[in-house]
């Protein structure tokens, strides 16, 4: 990882120097070492540039804003991030000409919450040693397997393919990441009784504080003004008028991004309440795959997304209402 980070910095300096780009979009250290945040750098600020196991943030969406500025920007995209960028190209939200994309190797990003959940507190630094994480804490050094601390999205990694880029930075070293079935949890929920599912979601969605972090980070949520913020839409509300508002918000948000969501997992990663929001999106993805054929948003620039497409032989909505089991 360290090697890739050095290569990135080198390329960033070179591309700034030869005038290919006039700024760099990457990650910088936040308040805590695990709290990396997206940032725009110029040549003299590059010393703050960081790429490590906490560079989970998908930088694609930030390019919407960058494309409105003058000149070309360099952005580093991990393999999964390139799907989001490609989808934004499909939606004309970014200008491919104004972005120089370097695809960077990714071995999976670390979820600090998982480390905390292991009971490891007072973390001051984390080093990677092969497949292990060495965790310095104020109580001394701890260890854990790297794969036990990865973000959910990395456990279900899409692979190391970059669907859009100008150049690639990879070390060539062999490694594996992911391998989990991303629909396992969805299938588990589907197998529950409706009552159990209801209880599950009621428990999860009741945590929502409507901070809108999921929406703000989502590359598919690129509306200029969200319907839920628009007083003229008839559904906006400053404070929740009733308990239904969150349901409506999350269902409608999932519906609006259905067929466009690349499953980048940012919604769950940023949720301060730890709501597994990606399970809503993955349900739609699973349904699309089952009902209308395999589809990966952002994989190419030609396929119509499922909700803007149809076949005459599509399944009827009764496939849902007539499902077996209790109601």
């Amino acid at each position: 990882m360290q090697r890739v980070a050095e290569m990135m910095l080198e390329r960033a300096k070179a591309l700034l120097a030869d005038g290919t780009v006039n700024r760099v979009v990457g990650w910088e250290m936040g308040e805590f070492f695990y709290d990396l945040t997206p940032a725009v750098f110029t040549a003299d600020g590059l010393d703050k540039f960081v790429y490590n196991g906490f560079s989970g943030a998908n930088l694609s969406k930030y390019m919407i804003k960058e494309c409105a500025k003058d000149g070309k920007a360099l952005v580093f995209l991990k393999p999964c991030d390139t799907y989001s960028f490609n989808q934004l190209i499909n939606e004309h939200r970014v200008d491919r000409e104004k972005v120089y994309i370097i695809g960077v190797e990714c071995r999976g990003m670390i979820d600090i919450r998982k480390i905390r959940d292991m009971g490891i507190k007072g973390v001051t630094a984390i080093r990677e040693e092969g497949e292990e994480l060495i965790i310095d804490t104020i109580y001394g050094e701890k260890k854990c397997a790297r794969k036990d601390a990865l973000l959910e999205k990395c456990l279900c990694c899409k692979g190391q393919e970059f669907v859009v880029y100008d150049e690639l930075l990879t070390t060539g070293e062999a490694f594996t990441v992911g391998g989990n079935n991303r629909f396992a949890k969805v299938a588990e929920l589907e197998a529950m009784t409706p009552g159990e599912r209801f209880a599950f979601w009621r428990n999860e969605l009741s945590k929502c504080i409507r901070c809108n972090a999921c929406r703000n980070v989502c590359p598919a949520c690129s509306c200029l003004q969200c319907v839920f913020d628009n007083p003229k839409s008839g559904i906006a509300s400053k404070a929740n008028a009733d308990d239904f508002e969150e349901n409506m918000f999350h269902i409608i948000r999932a519906f609006h991004v259905a067929g466009r969501c690349t499953d980048c997992g940012e919604c769950s990663r940023v949720c301060p309440q730890g709501i597994p929001l990606h399970l809503l999106n993955r349900k739609f993805i699973k349904d699309v795959n089952e009902f209308y054929g395999e589809f990966q948003a952002g994989a190419d620039n030609t396929t119509k997304y499922p909700l803007t497409n149809f076949t005459k032989e599509d399944v009827e909505p009764s496939i849902v209402t007539n499902r077996g089991g209790e109601n």
Binding site: E190, K312, P317
Partner: protein
């Protein structure tokens, strides 16, 4: 939800979105043919089934509807040629999501009713109203976030 106090029985509130060209005309034909269905079914006229936003359906539940049904032209017969194909996909996805959230999947339905199918319209509404009456009052949709 309205409870008819005089009779003491549960009278569900049912919203039926009907496309102007087929199903609304089918409902008219049911009327012309004097085919009865429960009075708690209320029809909203839309130009096409593809005009129905999932938001309208959630809104109905939010405001106390016990069942929502969408009726459109039969696939292949859409006045706008393809509208109901889009509606079919959208509703399949929405209904599947509601089911996934553990919400009674029988509270939502899509039926294709042509302008000639007054009988079918009445039969569908009778059946749907009965289903909803059996399900009882819609609690869950308004209740997903209630803290215990």
């Amino acid at each position: 939800m309205q409870v008819n106090e005089k009779k003491g029985e549960f009278k569900p509130t049912i919203v039926a979105f009907c496309c102007n060209w087929c199903s609304y005309a089918g409902a008219d034909l049911a009327g012309t043919s004097r085919l009865s269905y429960p009075a708690n079914v209320k029809i909203i006229r839309v130009p096409c089934s593809c005009r129905v936003n999932p938001m309208f359906i959630l809104r109905a539940f939010q405001r106390g509807a016990d069942g929502v049904i969408l009726c459109g032209c039969h696939p292949g017969d859409c006045h706008y040629s393809t509208g109901n194909y889009y509606a079919r996909r959208r509703m399949t996805m929405l209904f599947s999501m509601l089911d996934y959230l553990g919400i009674d999947r029988k509270r939502t339905r899509v039926e294709w009713v042509s302008a000639a199918e007054g009988t079918k319209f009445a039969a569908v509404m009778n059946d749907f109203a009965q289903t909803i009456t059996e399900l009882g009052e819609n609690v869950k949709l308004g209740d997903l976030r209630c803290k215990e």
